[in-house]
């Protein structure tokens, strides 16, 4: 891999041991994946932020690092909301460790946002941006809906890219590797409603695996695309998808023709995922709610009281920017929680059956929360919570 003189100096240790190690990581990954050069990135999203995953040794490694990130960097969701962890039954012992992990990242210059939706905070992302993001749904959204370019990074590789400000140029950073590999057609797509997109992603991910799908006949809003991509990244390993006439790369004149292999998602398969079930809690915001989704929830809840536990997950940034709406929601008895999520927070472990509006959460709740999951649209979820 070609390095410029400055990078060679970093590798030689002239800018300290931490930067040297980080450059060693990038060079090694460049070799492993056959990159020819490093490409500058404009932001990073770092996984390995929950104490539950990285543990004592990950924390010690982080604490021993001595450098500052070179680009705007945030974290993946962590195991608890930083301020209100007592509210969701987190032990002090865990909280202390989790706060220590966040503190270690803060010392490296990482912005204290713990979210799977960094794209709501960096609103000026374009197709020209190269990124080093980690969380599967964020990677899928930013690649597909924005057309920016990122591979799915691990914790240390994203941190290395954040500190150096570059990442090895391979995989999805190269336009030639972003062409669709399989066509996906959705039966009766005119009859779809917003709640169906997570279900379509849930089904498509299983069929598509790690290939790049090309949806040819759906119309979807950004929030619907978010739900679609998140679910596909959960049941498959989809880091990029295209939607005919909608996503930016699919609208380029140089875009590839429809792949000949075609998968059809049948209307009856989609419907069969929406099964009635007795539930004891409702959780929405997987991925984290947008401002529009929070507004919609507040409208659905207006003048009503929550009768079953209703957890709404969003990022601290989006919550703070919509404080009025959040306060209206919380007055109904619902909890709006930042920094963490349905999947990584122990808050949901105490329930037996959880209703979700997310294909991704539907895929993960059984294993990650040890509960049954019921899928519904956002409207149905809110209805259940106030019933």
């Amino acid at each position: 891999m070609q390095l410029d003189r400055e990078d060679e100096n970093i590798l030689a240790g002239e800018y300290g041991e931490t930067r040297q190690k980080m450059m060693e990581i990038l060079v090694a990954l460049g070799k492993v994946f056959g990159a020819e050069e490093l490409v500058p990135i404009t932001s990073a999203q770092i996984s390995g932020a929950s104490y539950k995953t990285i543990g004592e040794w990950g924390l010690e490694w982080l604490r021993n690092l001595d450098a500052r990130v070179a680009v705007l960097s945030v974290l993946n969701p962590v195991g608890m909301p930083r301020d209100n962890w007592r509210d969701i039954g987190i032990s002090k012992e865990f909280a202390d460790k989790q706060l220590a992990v966040m503190d270690a990242y803060r010392k490296l210059g990482v912005k204290m946002e713990c979210t799977c939706t960094p794209y709501y905070l960096y609103t000026n992302l374009t197709m020209q941006d190269h990124l080093a993001w980690s969380e599967s749904s964020a990677v899928s959204y930013v690649n597909s809906v924005i057309g920016a370019k990122t591979n799915r990074e691990g914790g240390p590789s994203a941190l290395a890219a954040a500190i150096i400000g570059k990442t090895p140029k391979y995989g999805l950073h190269l336009f030639k590797n972003r062409m669709p590999q399989v066509t996906v057609e959705v039966e009766d797509s005119d009859a779809l409603h917003a709640g169906h997109f997570g279900a379509i992603g849930y089904l498509a991910g299983k069929e598509v695996g790690n290939r790049i799908p090309y949806f040819t006949n759906i119309r979807a809003s950004r929030d619907q695309l978010k739900a679609l991509g998140a679910a596909m990244a959960a049941t498959g390993a989809v880091a990029l998808y295209h939607v005919k006439g909608i996503t930016p790369e699919a609208r380029l004149p140089t875009f590839a023709p429809e792949p000949s292999e075609k998968i059809v998602i049948e209307a009856s398969e989609i419907e069969s995922l929406f099964k009635e079930k007795e539930i004891d809690a409702v959780a929405v915001g997987c991925p984290h709610c947008s401002a529009e989704e929070l507004l919609k929830i507040s409208e659905l809840l207006a003048g009503r009281k929550v009768k079953k536990p209703l957890y709404i997950f969003s990022s601290k940034g989006v919550k703070d920017a919509n404080a009025g709406i959040v306060s209206k929601i919380q007055k109904t008895g619902a909890k709006v929680i930042e920094d963490t999520c349905i999947v990584v927070s122990p808050a949901m472990d105490k329930f037996d059956t959880i209703m979700v509006d997310s294909g991704k959460a539907f895929a993960y709740v059984p294993n990650m929360c040890g509960a049954e999951a019921r899928l519904g649209s956002l409207e149905e979820c809110i209805e259940e919570a106030v019933r």
Binding site: K21, E24, I25, A28, L29, K31, V32, G48, T53, I54, G55, E56, W57, G58, E60, W61, G154, G155, P156, S157
Partner: protein, 128 residues
Amino acid sequence: MARGISGGKGTGELLVSGEAISFLSGVDPETGIVIESGHPLEGKSIGGKVLAFPHGKGSTVGSYIIYALRRNGKAPSAIINIEAETIIAVGAIIADIPMVDKPEKPISEIPDGSVVTVNGDTGEIIVE
């Protein structure tokens, strides 16, 4: 010869696994003993050995387990992979363990129990 992935030189007795290794839940970070049930190296210590295996598997958190092994003095003295991937490459770098991959000659040609030196800068594998 092989390809250098993580720099430095390490010497030790060669320990070969024909199967991939998951460090998270597959190796005890306190003792360096392989604990994955049914693994060909189950019950063996990798501490101080030149550890040869095809590639990593399992969780990416495995990188931190390799770091933990180093801090506990139970890390391999060098790693040889057939095909490096992210978990082991990152783990070797953050734990300062010399590592190479893509050895030109099959590791199985090196007699069992040989003392081997791996140079992660030049990619050399020297049998003493």
